[in-house]
Amino acid sequence: MKNFKRVHFFSAILSFILATGFTLAKAQEAPDVGPHPATPRPPMESHIGNLTGHSDASPAAYDYRRYCAGCHGELGDGNGENAVWLDPKPRDFTMAIFKCRSTLTGTLPTDEDLFNTIGRGVINSNMPIWNVFTKQQRADLVAYIKTFSPRWQKEKAGDPIKIPAEPPVTIESISHGKALFTKLECWKCHGPEGKGDGPSAATLTDSKDNPIRPYNFAAGKDDSRFKCGSTNADVYKIFMTGVDGTPMPSFADVVQPNDAWDLVHFLRVLQTHRHSKENDVLNAAGGKIPPYVEKQAEAPAGQLENRGAGGGN
């Protein structure tokens, strides 16, 4: 009789433990993901192609807390506990200023810009290539990021800039690009060979007064090591939209879209270690860039338009 009672007693305790365990396990499915800001953030949506993300989708807050908050902070202000060790600092989402955009300087990026940044990571920084996420998770996270700044409710994203078709890579294009690099004074920060050693390079600070270095085109081997993507179109976008929050301005007002492609071709040959079509063309031309000769308009004999000096239009 005593054993029976003891068995009953222990099985009751065991059942209790198991029941509690089940309840807790169920609770794990939807953890409380505080902190709970005083002003609740209205839910936001993101639209990337056919995909729609929701900031209040159940994994979004959890994913952010698990994967992002350590650097970007629970309040999205870039002050996660890891942030003190990091350079460059994690993005402060509360400012809604982003480096990698397809939209003009001073405007919000598109949802696709953010979606791509999460998936691509940011090379030369601690932002990894987030290939653990499904596309839906990424879309939900884009929507979640948009809850951190009221700008997303007040403003529409900028329109993506129109990028004309890339012209062929020729030595003339590269030569024009070099003339533009000189005329636009890119070398003041980037240096004459793009090594990030220009006269103004040492004093550059970003918009939060952290020291920052200009991009060094000559660094790296076969990877292209651009923060915002490695295609020619990505390079085009960098100087036509500006890298907001940094010293890199937008040249959209002062460079014609077709001339911008020439500049891209020249920038590629500054990447001396990287195998590229542009470097092939340069090598085929003997490895030297000829001086740029501005094309004169076709004119009747005896009347030559006076186009003026200097490269570029």
């Binding site: 400012m95 200023i97 300087t105 001073g106 405007t107 005329k183 636009l184 004074e185 003041k188 920060c189 006269p199 103004s200 004093t203 550059l204 600070t205 918009s207 500006g242 907001d244 929050g245 940094t246 010293p247 890199m248 301005p249 937008s250 040249f251 959209a252 007002d253 002062v254």
Partner: protein, 232 residues
């Protein structure tokens, strides 16, 4: 029809709104304490600018005049006046000799801002707005003025990343009653209709002072401000 002088006077008085004969607030801004020492700017990295200055120019974080007067203070009506519309006329901010002119530019929210580059070198205009949108544009020499405007009131620091000594400020206000003091520290705010006003004096060191004043008619009220400056 010839109108008598009395008739004309009555007509003028009836048609002219009262505030055309409004009151004026004027005064002087001085400082106490020891201000930061200004340092000479080394422009040797930009010879086209360096040669425009016979002697090196000083930084402009704190510009003072004789008898402890303080320049570059924005004195404006911060309460009491109806929010007016932005004037149609643009304000101009120029880059010359690798310096901003004026160092502090006041304007109404929504008013057009034209930025000129009068130098032979490229500059980039980088207003570090936090309430408004921050943007950053390159402006090579000989290119047209950059036109923009600010929607929200804010004091915006402006810098050029290429020339790190260049600092300026945009004082974006929601009133047209403002003045920026010169070296003699004086300011005048005319055309104020009768009412109770709050006047704020703002300086880029972060110091500011607010005072209340009442205008009853066409009088001129004197209002002096004193800001405490620190050496760092």
């Amino acid at each position: 029809m010839r109108m008598s002088k009395t008739c004309i006077a009555i007509l003028v008085a009836a048609l002219c709104p009262a505030y055309m004969f409004g009151g004026t607030i004027s005064g002087k801004v001085t400082y106490t304490g020891t201000p930061m020492k200004m340092k000479p700017i080394d422009m040797s990295k930009e010879p086209t600018c360096a040669k425009q200055h016979a002697t090196p120019v000083m930084t402009e974080g704190v510009v003072t005049g004789p008898n402890n007067t303080l320049a570059n203070v924005v004195v404006y009506v911060s309460a009491g006046a109806d929010d007016a519309n932005a004037p149609a006329q643009a304000v101009t901010f120029t880059q010359k000799g690798c310096q901003y002119g004026p160092h502090v530019l006041a304007m109404h929210a929504g008013q057009e801002l034209d930025v000129l580059n009068e130098d032979q070198t490229s500059h980039n205009i980088h207003p570090l707005a936090k309430v408004n949108r921050e943007w950053n544009k390159s402006q090579p020499p000989g290119t047209p003025p950059i036109k923009d405007h600010w929607d929200q009131p804010e004091f915006i620091e402006v810098k050029c990343n290429i020339h790190p000594w260049m600092h300026g400020w945009f004082a974006v206000l929601k009133t047209n009653h403002y003045a920026v003091t010169g070296d003699n520290g004086t300011f005048t705010l005319p055309n104020l209709p009768p009412g109770k006003y709050t006047i704020t004096a703002w300086h880029e060191s972060g110091q500011k002072q607010t005072q209340d004043v009442t205008i009853t008619g066409n009088e001129t009220k004197t209002l002096d401000f004193s800001l405490a400056l620190k050496p760092y």
